[in-house]
């Protein structure tokens, strides 16, 4: 995370948990970046990353694990989905690359 902050980058966690659940979660895992609530699933729907889950026969639609890097112009520079998206290293290297001045 220090690497990311050094590269002029903020991290936003997003899920459909409530702000209260996210507050407890943030405290538990000690994150300093904001955890955002998409309880209406508006963003998850707009980004097309709702995934059907089946937990003991109960069906839900939750977020697929996804990491998206957005640059300072609001453009998407990196998209990673699935279990590999849990590992932040590739997102970190994209951001470190964005930080470098052009031509290096």
């Amino acid at each position: 995370m220090a690497k990311l902050e050094a590269s002029d980058t903020v991290v936003l966690g997003i899920s459909l948990d409530s702000p209260a659940a996210n507050a407890a979660f943030a405290e538990k895992i000690g994150v300093t970046f904001p955890l955002l609530s998409d309880m209406d699933k508006e963003v998850l729907t707009a980004y097309g990353i709702l995934k059907p889950y089946d937990v003991k026969g109960s069906k839900f639609k939750w977020a697929e694990r996804t990491t998206i890097v957005v640059d300072k112009e609001g453009k998407i520079r990196h998209v990673e989905q699935g279990d590999s998206a849990v590992d932040p290293n590739s997102a970190v290297s994209v951001c470190t690359g964005l930080h470098k001045p052009h031509g290096q």
């Binding site: 936003l12 904001p34 998409d38 059907p52 990491t67 609001g74």
Partner: protein
């Protein structure tokens, strides 16, 4: 007559099966984002764990943003 009934029944079964397959394909498609590198990230405003509004476009011109979507709080990832 029997033949016609068999034909109609098989046709019906085929249609039902095809319907199920396409429904499964649609469900599958839900999880895949249509967003590509180079697209403008759709803007949003969401409430943070500190009850503050956070708007994606507020970072424009200032910071790169890593959006980390996770399944649920209190689960591994």
């Amino acid at each position: 007559m029997n033949r016609i009934v068999t034909a109609i029944t098989s046709l019906f079964l085929l249609l039902v099966l095809a319907g199920q397959f396409s429904a499964a394909a649609q469900e599958e498609a839900i999880a895949k984002t249509n967003l590509k590198v180079g697209d403008i990230a759709p803007d949003f405003t969401l409430t943070s764990n500190k009850w503050e509004k956070v708007k994606l476009s507020d970072f424009r011109g200032k910071k790169n943003v890593v959006l980390a979507f996770y399944v649920l709080a209190f689960t591994g990832g």
